[in-house]
């Protein structure tokens, strides 16, 4: 197990490093003087200070070296718009986004397991068709629009939840739903079709022939077998989920990482943009490693292939 963890970590670190470097190079090669763009109202001396601080006169590789060196000491530069260090801004915003992602994941998994099971167990019945159509409909709705509709229905019309800005935990509910729905629609389909596949597997039929009850068949055989496709599709959907944070936070004026990233880009606050990108990719690869290991852990055949058993 430790061997696999290290291997995946090394792979993930390498890829993360590439992402960081490429985004760094791209951001630094944007035409224009970053010092002027970042602090347009600053004096000439202040702009000169920014240039020196960011090492803008050095070659990109040297700048990158400086940046990584500073980063390892916990210094990711300053945001000139927010007037604070990048690290402080991220520390304030990251937990909010993490809450959104975590609860959206829980919501999606729970709802898709319930609806996917109902649809899969009643293959091709009326209820299956209703659930499957619902999933296709959800998939066809852009989530910023879903967010707007949720605001319209649940906060403006019904007044249950606050609509915009952050004012306590109840502000998280609508963003979580808006973030979760597209993922849920994908997962419903996955659970449904993998359950149907599982029930057609020989070992499930064999267990049925041994006189196992319906519940035992579902939990120990069919569901167990469906968890692996579920894990794999969650990991393939994570990129979209992370990207959707930006959208959902924009729709709800929710002060998380995505909202900060969007504003930073519109204002060309490069230090902040760079830091958010790093955070996104680190987060993304960490979750991917967890899902990968989970998949291996769940499937003895993969464990055998990895030489673990």
């Amino acid at each position: 197990m430790l061997g696999i963890v290290l291997k995946r970590l090394a792979q993930g670190l390498l890829v993360t490093f590439c992402v960081v470097f490429i985004s760094f190079a791209v951001l630094r090669s944007i035409p224009g003087d970053p010092a002027k763009i970042m602090a347009p109202n600053a004096t000439v001396e202040q702009q000169q200070h920014i240039r020196e601080e960011m090492g803008l006169s050095e070659p990109v590789l040297v700048q990158f070296q400086m940046y990584v060196g500073n980063m390892l000491h916990g210094n990711m530069g300053n945001s000139y718009f927010k007037g604070d260090t990048v690290v402080n801004i991220l520390l304030a915003a990251a937990p909010l986004s993490a809450i959104l992602v975590a609860f959206a994941l829980i919501f999606s998994i729970f709802v898709s397991l319930v609806l996917g099971t109902v649809a899969g167990m009643n293959g091709n019945s009326a209820i299956d068709r209703i659930i499957s159509s619902f999933a296709v409909l959800l998939q066809s709705m852009p989530n910023y629009w879903v967010g707007a509709m949720l605001i319209m229905l649940l906060s403006v019309k019904a007044g249950i939840f606050p609509s915009m800005d952050y004012s306590g935990p109840s502000s998280c509910v609508l963003p979580i739903i808006a973030l979760a729905l597209p993922l849920t629609s994908v997962l419903i389909k996955v659970v449904r079709s993998s359950l149907i596949d599982s029930y057609n597997q020989e070992f499930v039929k064999a267990a049925y022939a041994r006189g196992l009850s319906g519940t035992a068949l579902y939990f120990k055989y069919a569901l167990r077998n469906s968890l692996i496709p579920l894990c794999i599709s969650i990991s393939s959907q994570l990129g979209f989920l992370v990207g959707n944070i930006v959208v959902v936070e924009y729709v709800f004026n929710f002060p998380g990482l995505g909202y900060i990233a969007l504003n930073a880009i519109l204002r060309r606050d490069y230090n902040l943009v760079q830091a958010v990108i790093i955070l996104f990719s680190v987060f993304f690869f960490l979750i991917n490693i967890v899902v990968d290991l989970g998949t291996v852990r769940l499937d003895p055949r993969l464990r055998k292939a990895e030489g673990e058993i």
Binding site: V26, V136, L137, S140, W145, V156
Partner: protein
């Protein structure tokens, strides 16, 4: 409980044909509207200050109402569909072209350094949230139809490269490829006739599905004001205009959204049904 689980494939196929027809009708209407937009909706840009925020069906001159400065929403939506379709189709075309070429090269050179490097690149690309990628790219280039098309296809090509690569790797060691080679088939013939032909059933349904996805992504960028900028009309920026009116005039954001969902559903119906119809495992039954 156990007995009725097997999905009746015959019925599934019948249903796919109905959905396919609905999807084709929706898409055909959208395409015709897009082509003839200047003819059927000449009045998308001119404001009528006298008739601001008319509700839909109130005044039959503006069947879907007017926006905050009194422009006809139906006309604007027709032009919005035009922008969506151009960007959606062009980006999927570009992405599948790049993806297929790279996937085939990668598949045939696998295992090898070239293949490993390419797969690492697609890893990096897929590890990068699309929205963030688009945000960075669109601050570098001014957002217009061409740059958005390029950005969308940049985000999409790795998916095609992976699909094609895994299909090629799966096929190239198959007995029938070996048999074709033994019978003296040329490399070109093997690529086009065998591998290409077996790729298509998996690829064709992806086109409408991805067009649907790209249409959504374009509208999303425009909604967040980093995509299509006025005066070019996109469904996304029509909705951005409506953003401030969610509380007072909620129909304003509802209508473009419904339009977009119907169009996307049309493409998704086509893709889903093609997947059912073209899948040889299902077709055999």
């Amino acid at each position: 409980m156990f007995r009725n689980l097997r999905v009746s494939r015959v019925f599934g196929k019948m249903r796919s044909n109905v959905l396919l027809t609905i999807g084709i009708v929706i898409v055909a209407i959208c395409v015709l509207a897009a082509i003839f937009a200047p003819v059927i909706a000449p009045d998308a840009a001119s404001p009528h200050p006298g008739s601001r925020l008319l509700k839909p069906f109130e005044n039959m001159e503006h069947p879907l109402g007017t926006d905050a400065i009194g422009r006809d929403i139906l006309s604007r939506l027709i032009f919005g569909v035009r922008t969506s379709l151009i960007i959606g189709i062009a980006s999927v075309f570009l992405a599948s072209l790049i993806g297929t070429v790279i996937g085939i090269l990668s598949g045939f050179s696998s295992p090898g350094i070239f293949d490993t490097i390419l797969m690492r690149i697609t890893d990096v690309q897929m590890g990068f949230p699309f929205v963030v990628l688009a945000m960075i790219a669109l601050t570098m280039f001014s957002p217009n139809i061409l740059s958005i098309t390029v950005v969308l296809s940049l985000a999409l090509w790795p998916a095609y490269a992976r699909t094609v690569r895994s299909s090629v790797i799966l096929q190239k060691d198959c007995e029938y490829i070996a048999a074709a080679r033994l019978m003296g088939a040329s490399k070109m013939r093997i690529y086009t006739r065998y591998i290409g032909r077996n790729l298509l059933p998996a690829m064709i349904p992806l086109f409408p599905l991805d067009i649907a996805g790209m249409v959504i992504n374009e509208s999303l960028l425009s909604y967040m004001s980093i995509g299509i900028k006025p005066p070019v009309i996109s469904i996304g920026n029509i909705m951005a205009d409506a953003r401030g009116y969610i509380a007072s005039d909620s129909w304003f954001i509802l209508i473009p959204g419904v339009m977009l969902v119907v169009m996307v559903l049309g493409f998704n119906f086509i893709g889903d049904s093609l997947q059912t119809i073209l899948d040889p495992h299902i077709r055999k039954k």
